[in-house]
């Protein structure tokens, strides 16, 4: 029996100088293999990050292999991406060319919906794969289901979310979180998640309404400018040929400002969402919590951007490290684990890695 209420249950003990040789050799080998090594590179990176992550009294261990990731990617390509490409290219085009626009529209819609479904399946299976390859005290996690039900759920909730003009997005996100984690287990214990949308809805509204406010602000500024111009203050501006450039600079400035501001507000929402989501997670007698504030998230993203830009892109190889260390630093767990009753998972161990997710380029968890 362990009690984790005293010291922090999660700790990351990595050191970027220790990680650097892994990152740089990964980069080298990925380049000389034209990217094929990326699967093994990702595996080596995870082996390091997991092994430097302590939960209560012992390290995590990543047991996935590069081959699994490659097979998963290959299967995803074979089963989904290539048929999709074929339908998209050949069937859709020939339908349009032969004048069957209605049929083409239907096929397009079906493709679009199928894409949502597969995205859901991919998210589910990536989480399941990661849990099944994560070892703690010799015990792993997993899931008994294949994620097809989650795929449907993801499909109709996404469609519903867009029909409600995006207002249901917090509910979609939290309910999907609950659904996928509810299917996951570690050892004999099932995860439970009961994240609610209400606590994050106000912050979501902030994000939702920001563009509207912004547009009004721009209009107000423009009106003010015209009024001021009428009063003759344009004289102080550069005259003649420079005016278009000034206008262009102003528009570009607004454009950048808009996305920076919107990005920041999105983080305000996401920080609250992630705290709610992780905080609603339970495994046996363990409760989890995530403490990163908006400020922490901004620091993470700003740091990542500075790292990548400042090193002309090479810093990218440390982004995964930074993200993981951020994640573990802010992860907490409270409660008890009975080691004697924590027995090996009986879930089926999936054979391949997160292929679909790779193919669709989506993040897990």
């Amino acid at each position: 029996m362990r009690d984790s209420s005293g010291t922090k249950a999660f700790a990351f003990t990595g050191d970027w100088r220790e990680f650097a040789p892994i990152a740089f050799t990964n980069l080298l080998l990925s380049i000389v293999t034209l990217g094929v090594y990326l699967f093994w590179a990702r595996t080596r990176e995870r082996r390091y990050l997991w092994s430097r992550t302590r939960f209560i009294d012992d390290r995590l261990e990543w047991t996935g292999t590069g081959r699994e990731l490659m097979v998963g990617y290959g299967l995803a390509m074979l089963i989904f991406v290539i048929p999709f490409g074929f339908i998209n290219l050949v069937v859709l085009n020939s339908a349009v060319m032969r004048g069957h626009e209605g049929l083409a529209g239907l096929i397009g819609l079906a493709l679009y919906l199928a894409f949502f479904f597969l995205t859901g399946v991919a998210i589910f299976r990536a989480l399941r794969y990661r849990l099944s390859r994560t070892l703690w005290h010799g015990i792993r996690g997993g899931s008994d289901t294949f994620g097809l039900a989650f795929g449907w759920s993801y499909l109709w909730k996404s469609v519903l979310g867009s029909f409600s003009l995006g207002l249901l997005v917090p509910w979609t996100m939290t309910s999907l979180w609950n659904e996928r984690w509810g299917e996951m287990s570690f050892g004999p214990y099932r995860f439970e998640a009961n994240a609610r949308a209400a606590p994050v809805f106000v912050r979501f509204l902030l994000f939702y309404l920001a563009p509207v406010v912004f547009v009004f602000a721009v209009i107000a500024l423009a009106v003010l400018g015209v009024v001021a111009g009428g009063l003759g203050s344009w004289r102080s501006l550069p005259a003649g040929g420079a005016a278009p450039f000034v206008l262009f600079a102003v528009v570009a400035g607004f454009y950048v400002l808009f996305f920076v501001v919107l990005g920041l507000i999105a983080l305000v929402y996401y920080a609250a969402y992630f705290r709610e989501a992780v905080g609603a997670l339970r495994l046996g007698d363990l409760d989890f919590a995530f403490t990163a504030t908006t400020r922490d998230w901004i620091a993470l993203f700003a740091g990542n951007i500075a790292l990548v830009v400042g090193t002309l892109g090479i810093g990218q190889i440390f982004v995964g490290y930074r993200n993981w260390s951020f994640f573990i630093r802010h992860m907490h767990a409270y409660g008890e684990i009975d080691l004697a009753s924590l027995t090996q998972s009986t879930t089926r161990r999936p054979g391949q890695g997160e292929g679909l997710l790779d193919a669709f380029d989506i993040g897990a968890i």
Binding site: G85, N88, G138, Q344, R349
Partner: protein, 352 residues
Amino acid sequence: MRVWHYDGVSALRRAPELVAEGDAFVLVERDRSEGPYRFADLVARDTVDGDAIYGLKGSSGWRIGFPGGVPADLSALLPSPTRYGGFIDRIGLWPAAALCAMLATIAVAAFLMTPALVARAVPRSVERKLGDMMAGDFGDRACAGPNGPQALAALVARIDPGDPDARVSVVNLPIVNAVTLPGGRIVLFDGLIKAAASPDEVAGVIAHELGHVRHRDVLESLLRQLGLSVLLGGLDGHVGGYTNALLASAYSRDAEARADGYAIDALAQAHISPLPTARFFKRLAAGEDGGGIGRLTAYLSTHPMSQDRAARFIAAAKQHHDDRPVLNADQWGALRDICSTDPNARAPGLRF
């Protein structure tokens, strides 16, 4: 030898004694004994905090850890750890990187050369069929105004005597360009005929395209285009007929230079002055045809223009004597009006 141990069944951390017996061992802990296990069945995991950790083949959670690393007397029996994975560990990082870099270079080179090799391997008859199939896109637009086809045939016969297979046609599209289909079909757009100041200019363009036919550049370019679109995830839905691919397919500079060389030889043998062709290229490069920039970019985009190209034709003119025009005034008039006087030629319009 004391080790720590997870049996992969329960999460309890054990601290058994590892007792080696030849190439196998048992784990003994007070009243409990596990094994025997063969050392050869162990799988090395990453060393963490100085502990050498081993898993067991066929078991996902079974682990033993040697605190402070592997004891010297067991190290010969234990498998070595994987680091980079597979063969890289066997031959070492740098040799593996060098080997992979070499293979990657070969792969890229092979990829770049494949179109040329495949194009050479395709039989002429297959290429011809392919060209006929693709010509369907233009088929109903070939112009045949009074005496126009005859004038065109006379022009082609001058540049390319003794080749009954050369099939040149004019299509009623207002684009300043010429396209060569696989199988030796050359399609001139009416816009190019209108932009030409003399039949000799048209002759130069046709001679250049004949060069592409002789060197089988067309198929190679098509294959390269196809390969690229597949490689770069060409899933953006642009397979609106083959024409797009053809119009977009630029030849390599080498292929252009070779086709120019062929054209210069052909003009010399036919006693047609290369100077009008040089002028035509110069006009195109300078954008002086009066048809607007939009019309000109078509030819330039598929036939990269440079001062050198025109200069080559000018230089070739020094070897010429007794040049004579490729068509007489009546023939040239018929060719110029080949589309406008053809009631059956479809009205100009861009379908793609």
